[in-house]
Structures are given as structure tokens and as C-alpha cells.
Amino acid sequence: MGYSPREMMIIAASREIRDGEVVFVGMRLPLAAFGVAARTHAPNAIGLFENGLARFAPAVEPFDTMSDPPNIHGAAWATGMVQIMGRLHAGQVDVGFIGGAEVDRHGNVNTSYVGDPARPRVKLPGSGGAADIAATCGRLLVIMDHEPKRLVERVDFVTSPGWLDGGESRSAAGLDRGGVAAIITNLAILRPMGPDHGMGLASIHPGVSRQQAIDATGWPLAVAPDAGETPPPTEAELAALRAIDPEGFWR
């Protein structure tokens, strides 16, 4: 069965979720990844949304925002932002997804300002829940298209802290858990390597060359000794994705 790079990306992301985990999801790619996981290897995972919802699985009816009625109907919890973001801050969320405009070598993510914040070249929407997810969830997953202008040496503005300046700088900043576990792109999976926690190539999606991934990355991309090919989507994974994406949005 054929599949698109986006589908590979979603399925790779879904494999980062373990069964029974509490997952901070969002809309779009992370929600699709959660949906695939819930329908395959992680039927007991639960997804949290920043607007106050928890769900066992994505809604079956189509919806455009996380606050649309289909996402509320049949939810496993409908409550406030304090209660949901509080799960993160209390250390009760295993894994969280964020996207962004830029991510850097140490997994820091910018969704605030390109250029000088006092007079930005581009004013981005801001953190939303991303800074909180990055600071306090157990494992952070960054999901983003793989382009040199997005994967940059150093972000202009750290909205959401990854490994900060690398080494022990994250714990030195007072963050005693979490950190970026993976950057999942349409080309590859990057993971922190060695004591510096610099993000290096851990796995390359089928049909992508190492050089392609290196060229599309804004920092000198180290390659893990055991870096191999990302296993292609299984039939079960693809079927799960297409069940929640009947209109082929991600194809």
C-alpha cells in the first residue's frame, strides 16, 4: 500500500506513544498520530487537549478546532484549562506534542517572534500551551516539516524550552524533568545524542537519503551509529490512519 511522506511522519509519531500513556495532543498532525496509536498499539492511551478535554480516541465526526462539538461529545473529561494544564504542571503527562515555526539543534522551539521581539520581522501567534508542554511533560515530541529555514542552528526566541544550550543547561534552568525526545519530520527522526543533547539523525524514512536530511537541516547533523531506516507503515497503521482521515487530507 502506498503512503505519503506526511503519512509516514504521522505514523512515526504515533509509535512514540506507549500504551496506557497520558498524551498531550493538539490538532492536526499530533491528533492524527494519537488516533493511529489509539487504534493500533496504544488502545489505553488517553489524549488531553488544552481547552479542557480528555479523550480515549479522536472523534469520528469531522471537526475543525478542538473546541468543536464533535470533540466534546463522548469526551473522557470536559473541564477547564486549569485542570488540564495542571496535569502537565503536576508531572502527570507522559508525552506531549508540539509544532512550531522553528526548532533548533537543541530542540528549542519558537512560536513567538522572528527577529527582534521589540519590532519583529514576523509576529507568530505565541506559546499557547507549547511552553508548558515543553517545560513539564515527560517526553517532548516536536513534529515539523523538514526544511533548513525551520530546523535552524538557534531559534530567534525560545518559546518552548528543549535542551536549551545543551548539556546540563536544562536542569540548571530549574526544569527537573522532560526534554525533547524526538523531532519527527517528513524526512527523518532526530533524537538527542550524547551528553550535549544535540539533536542528531536517528532514523531516516524510506526513500529519503541521508544527504537529503543533512541538507535540509540548518545545523551540522550528526548521525547516530545505529541510525537506520524508519520502518515503513504497516498495513494496520495505514488502515488506522485512513479510518480517521477518510478524505485523505494527509495523503
Binding site: 481547552n51 478546532t65 473546541s67 462539538p69 470536559a78 477547564g80 509576529k123 499557547g128 511552553a131
Partner: protein, 306 residues
Amino acid sequence: MADKLASVADAVAALVRDGDSLVIGACLEAAIPFAAVHEIIRQGRRGLNAIAPISDAATDMLIGAGCVERVTGAWVGNVSGGLAHNYRRAAEQGLPHPIAIEDHSNFSLAMALMAGANGLPYVPVRSLLGSDILKTNRRLIRADDPFSPGKPVILVPACKPDVAILPVQRSDRDGNCHFWGSLVLVQEAALAAERVILLADEIVDTSVIVSDPNRILFPSFRVSAVCPARAGCHPSSLTGVWRRDTPFFVEYHTRSRDREGFLSWLREWVFDVEGHEAYLDKLGDRLERLRITGWAPPEPVNFAAV
């Protein structure tokens, strides 16, 4: 019991003042009081501090219309479109005039409103450690946790808005009301704000409300005005009543890409529209097609006294 019924126009005229800090909906993408947003623009309020957990295009409209001096927010954008054009123009080019931005994360803004609601002067959090938000929001203080020497905390000061404008599915004439669905910061905003304006999709008898006191998020003594406003949240959704009008948001996003387009949109949908009833007339059939027609009531519970 008091009767607090007022039109949206009268409530905005009486209760929203130049320079006020304002929560325009506290429910992210849903239950945004666009009817009041339009009225604030028509009445030409200036110098507002828009407190925005996310109020989707509403914040962008107010910025573009020149009503806003400051944004206190975790996320400002057009959910269905992407970056918010008026917000970008104001931040990047000072158009129509420069704005101040007080950056927050969801959790810090939630804690600020929770603190305001409960009279806490501030709340210490561990989120935001390591984030550059600390550099742009100078009201956040980094301090030592006296209970864990050597561990830093970020102190988030309480936020006490002057006004919160909140759509609810149903209210009585005194402001006893029900809100359901995802609750986001509706309770905190209503308990923290100096004045609360409700946009009630339906006015009901008090007996309907007290039949389920757990569905009440805040007491009526917090409410200053109750505005009967069917679909006052259009084009945003309202759990159990209205679906989201995504094409409307997309059209706004497209037309607001340049300033001229935004101004023409504003003329068409705000300045040339007399009030909320005229807005609903202009929507015509489009509105009824957004009505939720399904019926999924909860399994009942029992509140019997004996």
C-alpha cells in the same frame, strides 16, 4: 431577584470603558462573543487591554479596528487561517498603531486568572523556566522557592480584568446561567472580572438553572448584565447549539490579508450593520444551517432532597 436584561449595545455602552482590560470570551475557539466585539468596534472603544487565552479572530478584529493598546495573551491568531494579519501589522509595522504585547503561556495565563478569581496576589509556577517569555513579559518575577532552597520559581501576578464578556447557552434574567462543553477559563474569568456581561443564547426561567446547580460555573452576583443574543458567538461554536462557521473565518482571514481588505470586511460586517439582530438577518439561512440538530442529553442524575 434583579433583572439585568440589556441589549448588547446598551451593555457595552454602560460597562465597557476606554482603557479597560477585557476578556472577550474565555473558551479558546468556542463561545466567543462576536456580537459584543462588533459593538465595541462600532462604539469606538480605545486603549483596551485584550486578555486572550485565545479568542481567535475576535482579538485580531479589535486590533485592526484600533481598539486595542495592549494584548495579554498566550496565543493570538486566526485558528482556521493561520497568522492573524491585523495582529502582525500592529506588531510588525505599528498599523493602525503600535500595541504592547504581554506574552504568556496557557498555564501562566490560566494561573493569573485563577489568582485573580481567588484573591491570590500571585502564583508560583515552574513552567516558563527556560523560556524567553521571561524576557518579553517583565511582569513575571523569577524567585527562589522558599520551600525548596535553590529551586527557582516564576511568580505570575494575578490578572483581574475590568470586564469579561461571556456567551452562555442559557441564563435567567438575573444571570443565573448554565455553561457546558469545554470550560477553558470561563469560570476563572467570571470570578476574576470586575464586571461580567453575559450573552445568553436563550433566556430561561430560574427553575431551569437551579435544577442543576453543578452546571452553574459562577453565581449571578458576579453578573452585571444579561444580553439576550441568539448566536451572539457566530461564527464560533457553542456546545449543543451552534456549529462553527469555518468558511466565515476563512473569508475573514483571506479578506484581512491587507488593510484595505480588512476595512472593507469591517464595513460590510460591522459598521454597515446596525446591531446583532441586523447581523443575524444578514446571515439569513446560513445561520440555521449551523444549528446543531442532534440530541445527545446526558444520563440524568438525581438532586432530590429526600
